[in-house]
Amino acid sequence: MAIAERTAGTISPPDIHARPGWAGWLSTTDHKRIGIMYLVSAFIFFLIGGIEALLMRIQLGTPDNTFLTPDVYNQMFTMHGTTMVFLAVMPLNVGLGNYIVPLMIGARDMAFPRLNALSIWLFIIGGLMLYVSFFAGGAPNVGWFAYAPLTQKQFAPSAGVDYWIIGIGLTGVASIAGALNFIVTILNMRAPGMTLSRMPLFVWMQLVVAFILIFAFPVLTVATIQLLFDRHFGTRFFLPAQGGDAVLWQHLFWFFGHPEVYILILPTMGIISEVLPTFSRKPIFGYAFVAYSGVAIGFLGFLVWAHHMFAVGLGPLANAFFGAASFLIAVPTGVKIFNWLATMWQGSLNLTTAMHYAIGFISMFVIGGISGITLASPPINVQQTDSYYVVAHMHYVLFGGAIQGIFAGVFYWFPKMTGRMLDERLGKWQFWLMLISFNLTFFPMHLSGNEGMPRRIYTYEAGMGWELWNLLSTIGSLLLAVAVLLFLWNMLTSLRRGAIAPADPWDGATLEWAVSSPPPSYNFAVVPTVQSRRPLWDRKYPHLHESHDPGEESMERLGAVMHDAAETEPPIPAGAIHMPSPTYAPLILALGIMVLGFGIIYLGDLGLAAAAAMLVGLLVMAGGIVSWVRISHVDSPHHAH
């Protein structure tokens, strides 16, 4: 069995598997390319969601403003929330995971490369369908949790809600497929020696999230299907006038919705657990505690959903239960926070941009977590719920937490993915601008919320005491936009002119740093054997052990394992490593599903024409499946010889 020192060099052999140009992207099954497609498309959606936020902020900057009409404003926050949650943060996490997880566990690809391709296409198509609604009679305007019965045809007659259902449904299927892929990849494709207790924490968190996904998403799927039936096929699940139940929708949505917020945050907690040790030059403090607290958060996350419903009138007993369960989550989360602090403690902190973001994450997330605790207290909640205090809470955890964590990950892994370094100086400027403007945007929302400002209002009257807070928020959001643009600029320029990244620019500990930047399509010419939690590190510093005192002596990396251009792999004959072939089958299948989706949206209104479209969709799907089966047979290892 080969050992890990033998890694691929910086000059990767030509990518023999991919088709050239666009075709290469459309037909790819390479987890790295798919990861990049996730990241790019999700980042674009993030910008769009951000623009929607800016429009809202401009409208709210002054009282009695008329920049947006109420209906447009309502579409804006619905699309903003939906976009940021389903089309930005989730897929950004999936993209990082897609790229990094196989590398971290020493695999050559995800377990199901074609399913992976199907996931990305379904995600992109789902996102696009959500946005098609703007041109099909108006975007959904019912809020991202779409409370019944406002979503019924009677109150929301445009097709916006239908597009919302189908769009969410497609990204949901994409997420479930992706999660199954992660579960199997992580459980079953680890390099020899990579036991569960040696897995990097980022991988751990992706695994936990994948399980949360497959448990939580079906519930949302069912709820949205029922809503679709209510709107078009005469059922009455959520129609109180006919015995349906508006509260049932809330239970179903939040049974999904609360676990969803941990789907958003846990991967970024994984990122933090990678970035902090690397730049502290220490192992993570309390590995097992950090891993299991993630599992605990994931589990407890299923027991607290009704804390979004304290004002619904569930009764004191139910409220007390869900409140107490929510408080409990502070415990495992605190364990993570304190272990991160302990990781930094007595380390040798290399304050790179990624490290800045990781530290910013801790700082801001704690603020959001604390406001979460006040919200979790039912009596306090009924004052704060549905006010801007909630908006403040969620942005501290979502932006201060998830987005900052993702930025940390991007600064950390960008060199690996592109072979270029990002501009660190610009990165730090941008970090400070972002941190300050973020707080300027969202801190005042605590105050306006407590001064009685409800959320989701497109205007407010002067004299309520909210003017100043809203003005500050709006100014902050504009500065935030500058920070985001700086980041965009940094990425675009670094792609061309950034310094060339070595294989291991940060002196990392995990396996992704053992291969060239960017890695060859097969990742590892020789699959490494793992002996510890820090496979690469332990090889670089074989003489380092626990008792080593700080500052006593300076440690040098072992020269023999420097991963510079000098050391290259033995030339690999073309075709020697058998990788999955490129194929359009997933794309075709996804397009078929899209046509089917359009058919479903209009089935109730157009009848036959829509049914015909559905039939076409099914036929296209059938074509996709046939070519899928063919290629998977050709690709099977038994067939290859």
């Binding site: 109420p70 109180p240 009685g452 004299g463």
Partner: protein, 370 residues
């Protein structure tokens, strides 16, 4: 190195300044401030918030303090290639920081449950008011105070006696709304098909701002109301007046140079061709519409159309002329479209309607706005 504490100290000043600015501003006596409770329900919440706030501040200071200290103390000095000790963990401290937060949240939980129990109490002698959420206005019914089984009905102004517990029975006509009087009590949803209850006591006479806090469609932002808490005697006077239907209208009212006649206004209002009665009700007349707000004694309203305009005859005229533009989406404008109004309501007729609606008044001594 030695300069650092100094530069830190220099930071403290501005930080304190900004902090106290925020703190002061947050305590300002603004109309919806939850930190300025005027009712028992809201006060108990506020009193629960204070200790939790201190604990939260403690957690905040500890975590941020450790973080800043660690960054400052352990940052890598230029030129140093030293390797820190490779510490992997320590079970004792893990237990410590598992147990410490657990204790804090336990304390929070106990305090929470006490307040929760207190705020859930529904005294048997509480006065009952049924509040119904409509897109986009609030209706209030006083089933215990009406005559002949007919409750007193109003909209947008909720009169209650000071010092007496009030149990609001919350219902909704169409979609979910959320009843929120920040200074008096926390929110409770109004859900179609479900009845909720909220009990509170106003401690001081006053006019309290209130809103619908749950997104309920296009005009959600313009769905407001007021709670008018007056002392018991005054409240009884109000009730006594509301129990009898308004007398036959008479007199005129001049607004912007146009003189409206109240009696003519009533005739117009009751004229089916003018549509008013298909949606509105006025006691003592045969207007029994149930779609829009009950307009009995409309002349004593504080605001027009769920709080979008302060009540005045001028504004009432504006509402009848330009309702679609003043409150986008409002359901009256489904019928009273701009074209319809141009064709069916002359300025004179509007002046008459205004004179009529304004003529129906009850007299109450109004408390100050709080």
């Amino acid at each position: 190195m030695r300069t650092h504490p100094r530069s830190l100290a220099r930071l403290v000043g501005p930080v304190l300044l900004i902090g106290s600015f925020f703190a002061l501003a947050a305590c300002a006596n603004t109309p919806g401030n939850t930190y300025d409770p005027q009712g028992d329900h809201a006060r108990r919440i506020y009193e629960l918030l204070i200790p939790i706030w201190w604990m939260a501040l403690g957690v905040f200071v500890v975590v941020q303090g450790l973080l800043v200290y660690a960054v400052w103390r352990f940052r890598r000095r230029p030129g140093s290639a030293a390797m820190p000790a490779q510490v992997h963990g320590n079970t004792q401290v893990e237990i410590l920081w598992t147990v410490a937060p657990a204790i804090i949240v336990l304390v929070i939980a106990v305090l929470t449950f006490r307040t929760q129990a207190a705020n859930a109490v529904m005294p048997a002698d509480a006065m009952r008011v049924t509040a119904v959420g409509h897109q986009w206005w609030f209706e209030f019914q006083y089933p215990e105070l009406g005559t002949e089984g007919k409750p007193i009905v109003t909209a947008s102004d909720m009169y209650i006696p000071v010092g007496r517990p009030v149990t609001v029975v919350l219902e909704a006509k169409d979609v979910i709304h959320n009843f929120w009087v920040p200074k008096l009590a926390g929110k409770t949803y109004m859900i179609p098909g479900k009845t909720n209850y909220l009990t509170f006591t106003a401690e001081q006479p006053g006019i309290y701002r209130a809103v619908c806090a749950e997104f309920c469609g296009e005009a959600h932002a313009l769905m407001r109301f007021r709670v008018i808490a007056i002392d018991a005697a005054e409240f009884d006077r109000w009730v006594a007046q509301k129990r009898v239907p308004p007398p036959a209208p008479s007199g005129t009212l001049t607004v912007n140079g146009l003189t409206g006649d109240a009696a003519r206004g009533q005739a117009l209002f009751l004229d089916a061709r003018k549509q008013c009665i298909s949606c509105h009700a006025i006691e003592g007349t045969n207007a029994r519409g149930a779609i829009g707000p009950n307009l009995t004694y409309y002349g004593s309203r504080q605001t027009i159309a769920a709080g979008i305009l302060p009540y005045s005859p001028e504004n009432l005229g504006r509402w009848l002329r330009e309702a679609p533009g003043l409150k986008p989406g409002n359901l009256m404008s489904r019928v009273l479209t701009p074209q319809w109004i141009r064709a069916n309501l002359s300025d004179q007729e509007i002046a008459d309607l205004v004179a009529y609606l304004d003529s129906m008044k009850v007299s109450v001594a109004l408390p100050p706005e709080r």
